[in-house]
């Protein structure tokens, strides 16, 4: 293991992918990279993402796109991979936490598509708060278990030694996905351990990740923090979403409809709603922090025995359990106005979804409102436009 305070710039012509982990400040980082795109391009650093983050493209690349999504992401992924692989920029990069879903042969496939000399950058966070964030994220995928029940299952699904005890098809258990030991063991042989950079967050400096990425790209301080954009739900609202999911599930509701309405159409309104709520941070109970530390310590040991580069102090990935309450009260009530706003979010998103359903759209258009002259004028206007274009 090589430990650095800040990394050296990657050699000219280098490429790197940032594979998350999720909930490690990736949204803020991707926002900063997107906002500084012109400055970065001028300095020779090329971002292949369109916009902030192309999540579905990352999921396609990692082999983790759920069946119910439809779209042209496969084609976009091929184009992105070609652009990444053939870029002649001084430094080319792609940030997508979805890539951390990749495992086994899919990692080799990524190397074939992107280049085996690609560097792998992983941003990290102590596991205890990371699990809390992940639980919230899981609620936005129709999760129904309480934080503690969910944590029990997560710990049961993967042992401290890294053995996965459950069967899974597409999405590996969270503690397997987050395992630094797994990342080193699976990504290292394909890309080379010496090309893996693990970034431990600074306990105080929230902009530290920005500085690390500037150093990797070999540019000055051009990245500016942007608003987070995906703030965490306060605990009462998170619990309300969980009960909402459970009610939907108990009703026999299907997953694709839920994902379309709440996961997609309500995503931005839900984010805006979150930004207006009264903060009520969710804290894991002490036993979760203690168990998470056991995993973090085991993973750190695997990292120490490897040839990866660690930016920062691995010890910062272990939390002090004394800072975590032995028992955390789960809220059972929510502010009426806040509940009303969530209803508004659900109402508006469901309305949009319903309006898109084929049976909702009247098939017959009423053209009787337009006179012959108006129709002819419109056709003429289109004909002129076509001629002008030609």
């Amino acid at each position: 293991m090589r430990i650095v305070d800040l990394p050296d710039a990657l050699p000219d012509g280098s490429r790197f992918i940032h594979i998350g982990l999720p909930k490690t400040g990736t949204t803020a980082l991707q926002g900063a990279l997107d906002r500084a795109r012109p400055e970065l391009e001028a300095l020779g650093a090329h971002n292949v993402n369109h916009g902030r983050h192309e999540m579905r493209v990352g999921q396609v690349a990692a082999g983790g796109l759920a069946d119910f999504w439809e779209g042209t992401w496969e084609r976009r992924w091929e184009a992105l991979a070609t652009e990444f692989r053939e870029s002649d920029a001084r430094c080319t990069f792609w940030s997508s936490e979805s890539l951390s879903h990749a495992r086994g042969e899919r990692i080799s496939y990524l190397a074939d598509q992107l280049g085996h000399d690609t560097h792998i950058v992983v941003t990290l966070r102590p596991l205890a708060p990371l699990m809390v964030s992940q639980w919230q994220q899981w609620l936005r995928r129709r999760g129904t278990q309480s934080l503690e029940d969910w944590a029990v299952n997560q710990f049961a699904a993967v042992t401290v030694d890294g053995e996965v005890t459950i069967d899974y098809l597409r999405f590996m258990p969270s503690l397997h996905r987050f395992s630094l030991r797994r990342i080193v063991e699976e990504w290292g042989p394909v890309f080379g351990e010496d090309r893996i950079v693990l970034v431990v967050p600074d306990r105080v400096d929230r902009d530290r990740n920005l500085r690390v990425f500037e150093r990797l790209m070999g540019v000055g301080e051009v990245l500016r923090a942007v608003p987070e954009g995906n703030a965490s739900l306060p605990y009462p609202e998170a619990e309300m979403l969980r009960h909402f999911n459970r009610a939907w599930t108990d009703h026999g509701g299907d997953h694709p409809t839920w994902m379309e309405v709440i996961g997609v159409l309500a995503r931005v309104p839900l984010r805006d709603y979150t930004n207006t709520t009264t903060p009520h941070p969710i804290r894991a109970p002490r036993w979760v922090a203690e168990r998470a530390n056991e995993y973090a310590a085991a993973w750190n040991a695997a990292v120490e025995a490897s040839d990866v580069t660690v930016v920062g102090d691995l010890a910062d990935l272990v939390v002090d359990p004394a800072e975590y309450a032995e028992h955390v009260e789960v809220p059972t009530t929510v502010d009426v106005a806040s509940a009303g706003r969530l209803m508004d979010v659900a109402f508006t998103a469901a309305l949009q979804h319903a309006a898109k359903a084929p049976s909702a759209a009247p098939e017959a258009r009423d053209l009787s409102a337009y006179g012959v002259r108006e129709l002819a004028r419109e056709l003429g206007r289109r004909a002129r436009r076509r001629v002008t274009r030609g």
Binding site: M240, G253, G340, A355
Partner: protein, 278 residues
């Protein structure tokens, strides 16, 4: 051809089903057979897959003789008494009084009433805000919900907006009926009663009774306390808001022509119209 059995008004259910109402319909599909099935009106329905017994119910408070487990059990017993293998009960929740055979058959098909044009409703934008809704009772808690749901803008109401208004009214009504602003029961009793209602519905469904419409209306309302509402109650209301929209499109035949801006119409449609005008 299947037969819809509609028992006469009983225990707060089928309150519309009185002889004068049936007589006013003057519809040949409606009949009685007091020898075979006393106190039941029969309606022949072409697209009903099998015979059914229809019980149209409103909010739970209107159904129970008293807000106690015993009152709930008595109502459940009434439902079970009507439930037979040859004509299982379909419990259709409707918060609107049944006034027409069309409405009755819509409810019997598991659909919602009134019809709701989601396409028009979705077309309303922030620039065209929905006017504020009146909340039954007007109490502070429900009002807080209403204020949170709809924009407080006074506007004239073009007819095209009516469906959007209906939708917002739906959302408002969901929480209005979940929160008891004039409670007969204390918070703990109301919660227990709500849980008992939920269990009773699950048991009825397990017995083969089908349920349609805003089923949250069959859960006993609870009082809000100091501006806070139980989370599961809020979730029940939110899910009903969502289902109220998601379940509607399949219910709707287009009952209104859609006027599309001319510049958005495909050229073929314009040409077809021009040919037809000659």
């Amino acid at each position: 051809m299947s037969v819809l059995r509609v028992p006469d008004a009983v225990a707060g259910m089928n309150t519309f089903a009185v002889p004068t109402w049936w007589a006013s319909l003057e519809d040949e599909r409606v009949s009685r057979d007091d020898d075979e099935l006393p106190d039941v009106t029969l309606v022949e329905v072409a697209d009903l897959p099998a015979d059914r017994t229809l019980l149209v119910v409103g909010a739970v408070a209107e159904l129970l003789s008293e807000p106690t487990p015993a009152g709930l059990a008595a109502w459940v017993a009434e439902v079970r008494a009507a439930h037979t293998a040859s004509a299982p009960v379909h419990l259709a929740v409707s918060l609107d009084e049944v006034t027409s055979l069309d409405q009755l058959l819509t409810l019997a098909a598991g659909r919602r009433w009134p019809r709701f044009d989601v396409a028009s409703a979705a077309a309303h934008t922030d620039a065209d805000p929905v006017p504020p809704q009146s909340v039954p009772g007007g109490q502070g808690t429900a009002r807080a919900y209403a204020d949170a749901i709809v924009a407080q803008v006074e506007v004239l109401l073009p007819p095209a907006w009516q469906t959007a208004v209906d939708g917002a009214a739906d959302a408002t009504a969901c929480i209005s009926r979940a929160l008891d602003t004039d409670p007969d029961l204390g918070p703990a009793e109301a919660r227990a009663m709500r849980d008992a209602c939920r269990t009773a519905l699950e048991q009825l469904e397990a017995d083969g009774v089908t349920l349609s419409g805003p089923r949250d209306a069959l859960l006993w309302p609870v009082p809000a306390e100091r501006g806070l509402v139980p989370i599961d109650v809020a979730a029940d209301a939110a899910i009903e808001v969502m289902l109220g929209q998601v379940e509607r499109p399949v219910d709707l035949a287009p009952d209104r022509a859609l006027v599309v801006p001319v510049e958005e119409l495909p050229a073929r449609a314009l040409l077809t119209r021009l040919r037809g005008s000659r």
